[in-house]
Amino acid sequence: MSALIEIRGVSKAYTRGRQRIEVLHRIDLDIERGDFLALMGPSGSGKTTLLNMIAGIDTPSAGSVTVGGRRIDTLSATELARWRAAHVGFIFQFYNLLPMLTAQKNVELPLLLTRLDAAQRRRNARIALELVGLGDRVGHRPGELSGGQQQRVAIARAIVSDPTLLVCDEPTGDLDRQSAEEVLALLQRLNREHGKTMIMVTHDPRAAEYARRILHLDKGSLVEAGAPA
């Protein structure tokens, strides 16, 4: 059976002035459905760039990215946007919630792109918030929530449309230890109990321990693969 995500010969280079900077160098990688992969490496190693390629918010300079049997590196901007809406949930380091909207409305945002009516959107958003333990905070705005709670709202937003995979970029980078562990435990539960495929970029070895598999990047190349200790 083929992997959910197949990355073949992916390179990414930027041109800055006359200088060509290669961020990723001929990456080959398979990620199975239901996997929880941690991407680690020093700053500038290309881990976020690789995550962006898989999530369809950046395109490779060379090579191919196939997700669920579909080449996404050849899609147009509009096709990519629609693909992301249907298949990818995003969790960012700084939560990136919309400050004027309540938790409920923030979680409903991805559902605006679906055919669900308002009542269904409200119901689904509430279920997602219950799942992350914030059923009693639906009417709160981001500014009225702690960092850990905001990140859990972001996780609810990421899962509300039941995407194929979740991509997390330093999801605990802005959280205290206890909040970070709660968020990581939640992600792990979503992977183990709900079968969500996850790819997480992190600097933190303790965060990476929650994953099923860890990959290290250095200077744009995969240097080592392994399982958490």
């Binding site: 962006n52 918010i57 629609r82 995003f90 990136n96 004027m100 945002l109």
Partner: protein, 378 residues
């Protein structure tokens, strides 16, 4: 969504937009009041005045010769009186007219039949517009003493006492400006004035076919060419405009002021929208990340801009509408300006276009936003 983000900024911008559109509403009402005859009444009427000056009289003897011109249906005549009622600040137009033909060629003057008859048959009779009557509390039967500024009485007095026999209304709201006028019997005026007997200020010629207005005008002017009293015949709309142009080209003045106001408004709201979108770059990046397409992002920003302008525009126009009666009351009824549906539609249309114009640059910028750059703060 974005408009609520910085409430003070949105409120101040809304106020600026509202004030600009309130000014537009007021000035457009002025423009309509000065140019209404262009579109609404008098398309079958010619005004015949002296070729040399609007204040140069013409002989009443022209009347018979003009009646013979093919295409002429009726002719009325009039003379500016320019009287003062009680105090010089109580200015309003007072004109001596030939009652019967004057009312016949002006169907837009709505007067009850009995009052119409009284105006035709009463030697010292006068009619006034409803707005003017309301301003001074006049009723039919009142006697109105006017002080002459140009035409003293034969008896040496400058006071002309007129009997109010009717109060008229304008047939269309666009013509309400005429309700500020007083008309009285030319026969009495001509008989009693100290000088200028047998002359008129201008003739009002009604033609059979509005399409023939130019031909009839040329025929009348040819009739008196090379005489001592040459005529200048022009459509009523041109006559009204030339009269208004004694003050200035109202349309040009209004357009110039509004051009400057809207130019400033575009700069102001354009800057505000650009700043608002810059502030929300990370949010727009998130929307794009979770799957909002480029056209959808463009639409969201454009909708915000147009909503801001439409809300402000509608508020401003409403303010103008509410201000007009207040201004009218404060000026003692001298500025009874109408606010026409066209002003509303033009104003809201302008708001939409300005919203589109100021929203498009930031909307395009938001649409072209690169997610990776925006999320990383570049």
């Amino acid at each position: 969504m974005g408009l609520r983000r910085k409430k003070a900024r949105t409120l101040l911008t809304l106020l600026s937009v509202a004030m600009a559109f309130a000014l537009f509403g007021l000035l457009d009402a002025v423009r309509v009041a000065f140019t209404a005859p262009q579109n609404l009444a008098g398309i079958d009427r010619l005004v015949v005045s002296s070729r040399f000056s609007i204040i140069q009289p013409l002989p009443l003897a022209h009347l018979a010769r003009m009646r013979a011109v093919p295409g002429v249906r009726r002719i009325a005549w009039a003379n500016w009186f320019g009287g003062i009622y009680q105090d010089p600040k109580n200015f309003f137009p007072t004109i001596a007219v030939s009652p019967q033909p004057f009312l016949e060629v002006h169907p837009e003057i709505v007067l009850p039949a009995a009052e119409r008859q009284a105006f035709v048959t009463t030697r010292t009779g006068a009619i006034v517009g409803a707005a003017l009557a309301q301003r001074f509390g006049w009723r039919p039967g009142d006697r109105i003493p006017l002080q002459a500024t140009i035409f003293p009485n034969k008896d040496g007095s400058i006071v002309w006492t007129l009997e109010l026999v009717g109060i008229f209304h304008a047939a269309q709201p666009e013509l309400r400006g005429m309700e500020q006028q007083l008309f009285f019997n030319y026969a009495y005026f001509d008989e009693a004035r100290e000088f200028g007997q047998g002359t008129v200020g201008w003739y009002i010629v009604q033609v059979d076919d509005p399409a023939q207005v130019d031909r009839v005008a040329q025929a009348i002017d040819r009739l008196f060419a090379n005489s001592s009293d040459e005529t200048k015949s022009q459509s009523e709309r041109d006559f009204q405009l030339s009269f208004a142009k004694q003050i200035g080209d109202i349309g040009l003045i209004v357009t110039a002021i509004m051009g400057a106001v809207f130019f400033a408004l575009i700069l102001l709201t354009g800057n505000t929208m650009a700043q608002a979108i810059r502030d929300r770059t990370p949010e727009l990046a998130v929307l794009k990340t979770i799957g909002f397409t480029r056209p959808l992002i463009l639409s969201i920003v454009l909708a915000e801009s147009m909503l801001l302008l439409m809300l402000g525009g509608a508020a401003g126009l409403a303010l103008a509408r509410l201000s007009l009666p207040v201004l009218n009351a404060a000026s003692g009824g001298q500025f009874d300006l109408p606010m026409m549906p066209r002003t509303w539609w033009t104003g809201l249309g302008l708001a939409l276009v300005i919203g589109l114009a100021v929203g498009l640059p930031p909307a395009l910028r938001a649409m072209r936003l690169r997610i990776v750059d925006a999320l990383s703060g570049r």
